[in-house]
Symmetry: C2
């Protein structure tokens, strides 16, 4: 017998749609004032997954009234030429939002390229100056995945100030930036990692658990305080031993957690779609700031 689910499901597709709907009116306001919202993306040949994502981005942007421009570089482009492209976009006053499709060819260091993006135009929030600005309490464009996790928490209406938030996993791309954004939101933040001696002792203190460990079913119901918010940022490709088919799973054991938590985000259909919407929100914000 299966117990009834008690947690509210944080539907990422629905939240992303609400975010985009709000953006459309901001884009229209900008246009009324004579400012076109534009997103300039850089891609190198041979990046098939990137091309698929770029095509989907272009469609979404067109629907929303964002001018999407894809800059193609060759697969054997030099690192210097990629940086030159970025610097050209930095210098162009018509450009206010820049993103680079990963991965880059092996001869190009991605950290060097990311650091070259003008922080004010860095709508993926990948220039280290941007997360650094958050630490120093300055205006910043924030990394999209971390921002998506924060936006999901915000959508519950629960205030983070004075709450205990636990990050499961301290990866460079997600766990650490999320911890920084939670500290900025004045939560008491516990950052855990694979060396944490007793993870459950930490998560049981949490009003909010954000898991970005990359381990399927790591977070189980017995680790969660009743009523807590559980955000699953894990994206794990797992092969079903019976069917042999691959499917995407998060870090959270959904069945057991959803019987205890107050809110839980599913995978797929949780943080993923919101992350894509955050890139667009950053793009509109960069355009608004550029418009002054």
């Amino acid at each position: 017998m299966t117990e009834a689910t008690t947690a509210n499901i944080l539907d990422g597709r629905e939240l992303a749609e609400r975010v985009r709907a709000k953006l459309v009116s901001r884009i229209e306001s900008l246009r009324t004032e004579g400012h076109e919202v534009r997103l300039d993306a850089v891609i190198c040949s041979g990046n098939e997954a990137g091309e698929v994502y770029a095509a989907s981005q272009e469609r979404t942007c067109r629907q929303m009234g964002i001018d999407y421009r894809l800059h193609h570089l060759s697969e054997d482009v030099s690192e210097g030429a990629v940086v030159d492209t970025i610097e050209g976009l930095n210098a162009d006053a018509a450009v206010h939002a820049i993103m680079v499709h990963m991965p880059l060819p092996s001869q190009v260091r991605s950290d060097l390229v990311q650091s070259a993006i003008d922080p004010r135009k860095d709508v993926e929030g990948v220039n280290p100056a941007n997360i650094g600005n958050v630490i120093y309490g300055r205006r910043s464009l924030m990394p999209c995945t971390a921002l998506a996790a924060m936006t999901m928490i915000e959508s519950t209406g629960v205030q983070l100030r004075g709450r205990v938030a636990v990050c499961v996993g301290a990866s460079r791309i997600v766990g650490r930036p999320v911890a920084v954004l939670l500290i900025q939101a004045e939560a008491t933040v516990i950052s855990t990692n694979v060396h944490t001696p007793d993870l459950a002792a930490m998560t049981r203190q949490a009003d909010v658990v954000i898991s970005a460990a990359g381990v399927p079913n790591l977070v189980t119901g017995d680790m969660i305080q009743p009523g807590a918010i559980v955000i699953d940022v894990g994206i794990n490709r797992v092969k079903d031993p019976k069917t042999g088919r691959t499917r995407t799973m998060g870090d959270v054991e959904f069945d057991s957690v959803s019987r205890v938590a107050g809110w839980v985000s599913p995978v797929p259909g949780g943080v993923g779609p919101v992350t894509v919407a955050m890139l667009l929100r950053n793009t509109v914000e960069a355009a608004e700031r550029a418009a002054g």
Copy 2:
């Protein structure tokens, strides 16, 4: 009757001296290879405390074989002129270490000036890109006070990986950067702030407590796990109600904590002197990197 102190006292002056002694041999090695270690500092007139600090720096640098050059700007200098000075130093290959004496005149935004320093020459670690680089696991010059706290922990010989470290206070200048460095060191990190509902419940879990709250006597012995490392980064100027004299106190109630902790750093004579040494260490590191 007073109980005996059990904690090891982390003597910051002694540690700073050990750090400087090691630096002297690195400076000599660089000189042998034809590289002069140099520190370029910028100061605006009217900054009396800064002048005192600069004079002391110059003496220390001279003793250690570091070429200290102080660049004077006028009190009514424009923001653009300060940034131009920084950019001139950035562009000068003979310069590999830059610091700016705070505070700057009111017409000059310090965040703008700090962000203008080339991250590779930013030996105070104040450019947000540097703490951002730590988050992304990249080579970086780290903020001196946070680095001093880490160096004190390191001096105990206790490994941070797998330990629980609690930061008391989440200030932009100290608490947050310290949390980032502890995460980078693979500790389980708890960042607390003034809104934390039960601070003692957090600190009692800690193998390491770093206090940077700016509240005298905030951390007491009953909040500390026996044998823990307690680092006091608080600098509080407190007036004695009886004598009327002002003295410097930390956040840690030294008497009660030193009866429980394994190690404790005093104030004054703890993190302060080590912070000054960290600036010199960053200067030597920047010189070594520049020398390739």
